[in-house]
């Protein structure tokens, strides 16, 4: 016996087989980000200067490119999920909500890709 009302079934309301995936991914990315954010903040605050040479050599040094890419990907992912929930809570109207959600997804994808590209470009140049 199904607990769902017949109307809900024909309207496709109810389980989309997504379950707690969104909620859980928010937590998993948060846990993964926690040590990375501490690392990034300490690194940025201890940069001796803000000039080109200092910043690019820091980006390319040691394990920094890997940690930076991890941080950027996880932060983009976590931010994408979080802003999505905020939009779903506060933006009404089918069209504006859909547009906001689409923009959220596209911009976070762009931010993640641009960040990874920039780190690789600096790191591979300094390695070459």
């Amino acid at each position: 016996m199904s607990l769902r009302a017949p109307l809900a079934r024909v309207l496709s309301h109810g389980s989309a087989r997504d379950g707690v995936g969104h909620w859980l991914t928010e937590r998993v990315t948060a846990i993964a980000l926690a040590p990375l954010i501490v690392w990034l903040l300490l690194q940025l605050l201890s940069l001796p200067a803000a000039d080109f040479r200092t910043v690019t050599s820091w980006i390319g040094a040691g394990w920094n490119p890997l940690l930076l890419i991890l941080t950027l990907l996880l932060a983009s992912w976590h931010s994408w999920l979080g802003v999505q929930v905020v939009i779903e809570d506060y933006v009404g109207g089918f069209l504006s909500r859909s547009a906001a959600l689409l923009l959220n997804t596209l911009l976070h994808g762009l931010v993640a890709a641009a960040g990874v590209y920039a780190v690789l470009r600096v790191a591979l140049r300094s390695a070459a």
Partner: protein
């Protein structure tokens, strides 16, 4: 789509400071999405070469740039601390009212101390000199 009831009806509750922390978590989260955009813009300009990066440096080392950096760092520290509080709740700890209030005070105190240290480092003489 038919008008559906909205929940929770926040206006029927007496204000408690844990509510302020709750909405601050969202506000700092959204602010940090923009901070991430700024971080990536900084990295991209560094990847484009010395002249592109040099164009950005005066912006970053200006008073306005440092204030924005200080606000972003404060938002980050708050969201980090309150995020740990949320993770503790997710594990089932700290739900009692007295515990939730105590952890709220702890989050605010830790945030203020850590943010004050970071803001000092951002604004200390000679910081971020080009």
């Amino acid at each position: 789509m038919a008008e559906r009831p909205l929940s929770p009806h926040l206006t029927v509750y007496r204000w408690g400071y844990t509510m302020t922390l709750s909405i601050l978590h969202r506000m700092t989260g959204v602010a940090l999405a923009f901070a991430l955009l700024g971080l990536v813009a900084w990295l991209v300009s560094a990847s484009l070469g010395p002249s592109a990066f040099a164009a950005l440096v005066p912006l970053l080392t200006s008073a306005a740039g440092k204030i924005i950096a200080a606000l972003a760092v404060t938002a980050l520290i708050y969201h980090f601390c309150n995020g740990l509080r949320h993770l503790a709740w997710d594990l089932g700890f700290g739900y009692e009212r007295v515990d939730a209030r105590r952890s709220a005070v702890l989050v605010m105190v830790v945030t203020l101390i850590a943010a004050a240290i970071c803001i000092y480092l951002i604004f200390r003489p000679g910081a971020g000199a080009a």
